[in-house]
Amino acid sequence: MTLTRFLVRRILLCILVLWIISVAVFAMWFIAPHDPARLLAGKEATPQTVALITHRLGLDQPILVQYGQFLGRLLHGDLGYSYYNSEPVTHLILTRLPVTISLAVGAAVMWLAIGISAGVLAATRPRSLADRVVTSCSLFFYSMPVFLLGVLLLYFLFYRLWTAGIHLFPGSGYASLSNPVQWARYLFLPWLTIALGAAATYSRLTRSGLLEVFGQDYVRTARAKGLSGSRVLYVHALRSALTPIVTQAGIDIAILFGGVVIAENIFGLPGLGALAVQSISTQDLPVIIGIVLLSSFFVVAANIVVDLLYTVLDPRVRVH
């Protein structure tokens, strides 16, 4: 019963947040001077043509009417049509989504594997050489802006290898999952770009979480009972240390689902982030709103899922 109430409340809040965001995007767009009809009609167009296009797009109606129509369609799962190529926005988004999801999921697997194992390594041997190396590396990659890492990887792992005759990773483009080897080759550098910075955060979280848990009574008790070091680590300590990491991971992955602007930009991947950037330069409002709403939806939905997961992972937490 409490779970149902919790879910209903959270879903209502989620809808409220999404609604505020949709109003914000809509308002932002109409406050500023812009004229997609003129852009669409081209430089040579007569005022009549521009007026016709304006009318066809429904841009001559009051903002409130436009917003009402938008909201009405949205409730039917319809995000409208792109101004630019008259394609349904949902279709445009669906064709780009696989690229972005491939990028996000692969990167997440990579950063969780690197981050958590590095964190465990550092925490089980505090102040050792391994700890120092992990801590320094994580600080280094944590400080590295994502776009800079992308550019450096492009330079060293694509260009330098390529000129040396090693054609290991392509510099740009995308291959669909139907050819898994090609798919991974194209995505490896973008994955690394996203994953290394995130892995730095996760190794720090894992390390500090584990060290905190190691200091607690129940871990001491487990050790005193004579349990082996690895059993204490993997069964007792890691479980509670990983709880905050699950939260972070859920939200981080959801953010990536909404478009990986920088990595898609540097490596020429046709994902949602690239679509968003392109739509902004063509002032394609329906597409922009669609992407922004979808990516916000991923984040709020992830928040709910993560809260539910929390209760599974940590029996002390009760939803209310």
Binding site: L13, L16, V17, I20, I21, A24, V25, M28, W29, I31, A32, H34, P126, R127, L139, F140, Y142, S143, M144, P145, V146, F147, L148, V151, L152, L154, Y155, Y159, L211, E212, F214, G215, I255, G258, G259, V261, I262, N265, I266, G273, A276, V277, I280, S281, Q283, I288, I291, V292, S295, S296, V299, V300, N303
Partner: protein, 317 residues
């Protein structure tokens, strides 16, 4: 982070290691001592000071080298094929695609990075702290409204929003600073709110209220000093994040408009030339990396100094 307030109280009763001083030292003095002993922190602070000095003295670099930041040396600064020239006695860090001096442009770029990083962080922290304290102290409807506001900001895909916003209002330094501050305040607000929630229930707040102190007085005189430690830690860690954010905006073409030099737009311009001019990519990149690294190292040291529990964990092993 949540126990930072408590940790300071505990720290205050213990004299700093290696000293025989028995008279009371304030938590700030204790933190300062710990920070001063941290060699890495001192080194990072020195690096930050050098970068700041270089940024302030940027016009001096232009005068000494005789190269203005936007001056194009089309004959001496470009190869016969019109490509960037490698580092030499005349151009220490080489030239870019328009024959401009990269060293001079990096120093001018430091002005933008430091200014945007510090100003955006201070704005975000000031606003976030006030909102967080109000939400935590007043509770009820105020808390619900402010907390939902923070939820909304934290749920926004900030890069997409920033791109959309800048596409509408046009790029510029202040727009970028506003964008960075807007997407950073909410996390500060959350931290401050959580701290305020626990402080609100303390006896001294109740005592203050019983002698007739107003809400604003309690918030700014009694609560603020007790949430300031995590806020300071947050600020020092927010500055490098804001510097990176600023460079990212410029890299995507929505931050600082060329020809004004910024590390982000320098790296973005260099992308077409990385095959022929490594110095064009690497030097602005290193400038950016060294700056964010130094600030992060200092921020970590400040956190360790203000929150001695990080050391206690080691002691328990």
């Amino acid at each position: 982070m949540s126990s930072a307030g408590l940790a300071i109280e505990r720290g205050a009763q213990v004299p700093a290691q290696g000293t025989r001083v028995t008279e009371g030292l304030s938590p700030w003095q204790l933190a300062w001592r710990r920070l001063r002993k941290d060699r890495l922190a001192i080194a990072s602070a020195v690096v930050i000071l050098i970068i700041t000095a270089a940024a302030i003295a940027a016009p001096a670099f232009a005068v000494l080298t005789g190269h203005g930041p936007n001056q194009q040396f089309t004959t001496t600064g470009l190869t016969v094929q019109g490509l960037p020239k490698p580092p030499s006695g005349q151009f220490w860090l080489g030239t870019d695609d328009l024959g401009r001096d990269i060293l001079v442009r990096i120093v001018y770029g430091a002005r933008i990075s430091l200014f945007a990083g510090v100003v955006a962080s201070v704005l975000a922290v000031a606003f976030g702290t006030v909102v967080g304290m109000f939400a935590g102290y007043f509770g009820r409807v105020t808390d619900s409204v402010l907390s939902r506001g923070m939820d909304v900001v934290l749920s926004m895909p900030f890069l997409l929003f920033a791109i959309a916003l800048v596409a509408i209002v046009g790029p510029g330094l202040w727009v970028s600073v506003a964008v960075i501050a807007f997407f950073s305040w909410a996390s500060v607000g959350r931290v401050t709110r959580a701290q305020t929630l626990s402080i609100r229930e303390k006896e001294y707040i109740e005592a203050g209220r019983s002698v007739g102190a107003g809400s604003l007085r309690i918030i700014f005189i009694d609560i603020l000093p007790n949430v300031i430690a995590p806020v300071i830690v947050y600020t020092t860690l927010l500055i490098p994040a804001s510097i990176a954010f600023m460079a990212t905006l410029s890299f995507l073409g929505i931050g600082i408009v060329p020809p004004t030099a910024d590390w982000g737009n320098m790296i973005s311009e260099s992308l077409q030339y990385y095959r022929v001019a490594w110095w064009f990519v690497l030097f602005p990149g290193f400038a950016l990396l060294i700056t964010t690294l130094a600030f992060n190292l200092l921020g970590d040291a400040v956190r360790d100094a203000l929150d001695p529990t990080t050391e206690r964990i080691f002691a328990q092993r």
